[in-house]
């Protein structure tokens, strides 16, 4: 007697995933039902073929290639002590947690502006928070075309000359922002920034960020800025730093009645006095994003309103729909530089505002939006 799930039970039987009672019942059915038995044998045959021949093998030099690239490209240059130091709190975690949103305006031939800010995504979802950092990152080519653009800019003599004059300018994220993220009550704890000891990886990357400060950058550095290591990684034409979700504690989740209000962010946003940006300084805030699809939909709409396009998505937040606290993601909107203010307006309408920005002259710009989900609501 075939039941609606009897076919699935055949697979479960193969996998020894049935209870004893279920197994006995199904075995009895198999004895008396030749068609069912044939189906079972076909499944078993397929499984055995896959078991025997489904494995592929990485090239013989795969490990060497990985190790070589890790040591030559992934580990910060000039850091011979890298393997000798214990890995403390990952720098990426600090960068992502404290600086949930970064926007990069890359305009060919005009300069790059790296903007620090913060974005809070409040996720309404039922799924449990992941127990480990959300796997993420993708190759630079999948994140858009910014690496070549940045290389061009770096080679620009004018940019090079202005780099030195901008040596004291750092892309930074304020302590109040970090504190605020830490106090969301979502059960997330923000790791402390590692000490910036000489020879330490942190120092190297901070330097790299400084070097990358664009010619038109006008962001003032905070007294103790956490490094934008994700930016540094990006400049190395490599993978975006891994999702580095803040460690989750077992503290109770924030009550429903206490969602983070965007006004709170604005109040805590530090003023960057003296900024010469053409846009007002404020703060990014995203709210009520429930699924990855929703994020994409929202960003698509924002891009279209400003005549731009959501060019690429690392889709790092979550595959399959749910966004969980601690997930991160990177998205790109390509827009005509003349429409940047429209984009800004659209983002504001969405609940986000631009923290800082720089001028661009012409052509398309690529806006990179990094997202960190910092709150999970039931």
């Amino acid at each position: 007697m075939e039941t609606p799930d009897s076919n699935e039970r055949l697979s479960a039987l193969l996998d020894n995933e049935l209870s004893d009672a279920e197994r006995r019942a199904l075995e009895k059915e198999l004895e008396s039902d030749s068609a069912l038995r044939a189906e079972f044998e076909a499944l078993r045959g397929a499984r055995e073929m896959v078991r025997a021949h489904g494995r592929s093998y990485a090239p013989a030099d795969f490990v060497e290639k990985v190790m070589s690239k890790v040591e030559n490209e992934v580990i910060p240059a000039n850091n011979s002590n890298f393997w000798r130091r214990p890995f403390g709190v990952p720098i990426e975690a600090v960068a992502v947690a404290a600086a949930a949103l970064m926007v990069v305006f890359g305009s060919l031939g005009t300069g790059v502006v790296l903007v620090g800010g913060q974005q809070a995504v409040e996720a309404v979802m039922d799924a449990e928070a992941p127990s480990e950092p959300a796997p993420m990152a993708t190759s630079p080519e999948e994140r858009g075309a910014e690496p070549p653009e940045l290389e061009v800019l770096a080679a620009d003599p004018q940019v090079q000359a202005e780099k030195s004059s901008n040596a004291d300018k750092k892309v930074s994220f304020s302590e109040p922002m970090k504190d605020e993220i830490a106090s969301t009550g979502s059960g997330l704890a923000i790791p402390a920034a590692p000490a910036n000891a000489p020879g330490d990886r942190l120092e190297d990357e901070t330097k790299e960020v400084q070097l990358l400060s664009p010619a038109t950058e006008t962001v003032k550095s905070d007294p103790a800025p956490p490094p934008d290591t994700s930016r540094a990684y990006e400049e190395r034409d490599d993978v975006i730093p891994e999702a580095t979700k803040p460690s989750k504690t077992k503290s109770p989740p924030e009550p429903k009645s206490a969602p983070r209000a965007s006004a709170d962010h604005t109040e805590s946003a530090p003023a960057s006095a003296g900024s010469k940006n053409s846009w007002p300084e404020s703060q990014w805030t995203y709210r009520l994003v429930t699924t990855n699809a929703a994020i994409l939909g929202d960003l698509n709409g924002i891009a279209k309103k400003s005549g731009g396009v959501l060019r690429d998505s690392a889709l790092n937040v979550v595959q399959g729909g749910s966004v969980q606290a601690g997930d991160t993601g990177t998205y790109y909107i390509e827009v005509d530089a003349k429409r940047l203010k429209d984009l800004d307006r659209s983002l504001k309408a969405f609940g986000a505002t631009v923290n800082t920005s720089g001028s661009t002259e012409s052509g398309n710009v690529l806006v990179r939006i990094s997202i960190l989900v910092i709150l999970q609501q039931k």
């Binding site: 021949h53 796997p135 990152a137 190759s139 891994e242």
Partner: protein, 205 residues
């Protein structure tokens, strides 16, 4: 004593390797790469169906792993976590290539049912040349797997090649156990059908 012998045979556990990595042990990371290279590569290849791209993405997976391993707290198994990284990378790569029209799909001829978009092949798969060195059975299996969609391939590989449990597969793909069970069965049933068709076509029986 038994545990010591097991450790000598199988090498240090994943958690031990992670601990050593966090302590700055280069060899621990290398051992992780060595331990997982074929599993990662297999999954990449099954998902992306192109050896060179699979290798590239597999490398990216280990770079990503390198950067995030310090955050790994051991609340799930390292293998599960790595597979999640693999799946994410593969999806990203697939989307990127699709957007760049590098991964166009064409429906298989002769399959009849238009309502099965998952039965597709890539215009650039491993190709005949890449399969020449493989046994006939390997080619049969690979060709058959290619006719499943990515998730079906992934589920079958995770279960039948890597021997992951339903729970682990569910954690990786973020699916409930029941969904894993039904999708696995559907994938196997489809694979069995394809294999039988191919075996008949090749007059193997």
């Amino acid at each position: 004593m038994l545990l010591m012998l097991l450790a000598m045979v199988s090498g240090p556990s994943d958690s031990e390797l992670v601990r050593r990595f966090k302590g700055g042990d280069r060899r621990a990371y290398e051992e992780i790469v060595r331990r997982y290279q074929h599993r990662v590569f297999t999954m990449c290849l099954r998902w992306l169906r192109h050896e060179a791209i699979a290798e590239e993405v597999a490398q990216d997976v280990f770079f990503a792993l390198f950067r995030s391993l310090a955050d790994f707290r051991g609340e799930s198994q390292l293998s599960t976590w790595i597979y999640r990284v693999v799946i994410n990378h593969c999806k990203n790569k697939k989307m990127y290539r699709f957007r760049r029209s590098e991964d166009r799909h064409e429906p298989l001829e002769g399959l009849g049912r238009d309502d099965e978009p998952q039965r597709q092949i890539a215009s650039e798969g491993p190709g005949t040349d890449a399969l020449l060195h493989k046994s006939e059975a390997e080619v049969l299996v690979q060709r058959a797997l290619e006719r499943l969609d990515e998730e079906q391939r992934a589920i079958i590989v995770m279960r039948d090649v890597e021997d992951l449990s339903y729970e682990e597969i569910g954690e990786i793909l973020e699916l409930p156990r029941g969904t894993v069970k039904s999708r696995l069965h559907r994938a196997r049933a489809e694979l069995a059908l394809i294999l039988s068709e191919n075996l008949v076509a090749q007059d193997v029986f």
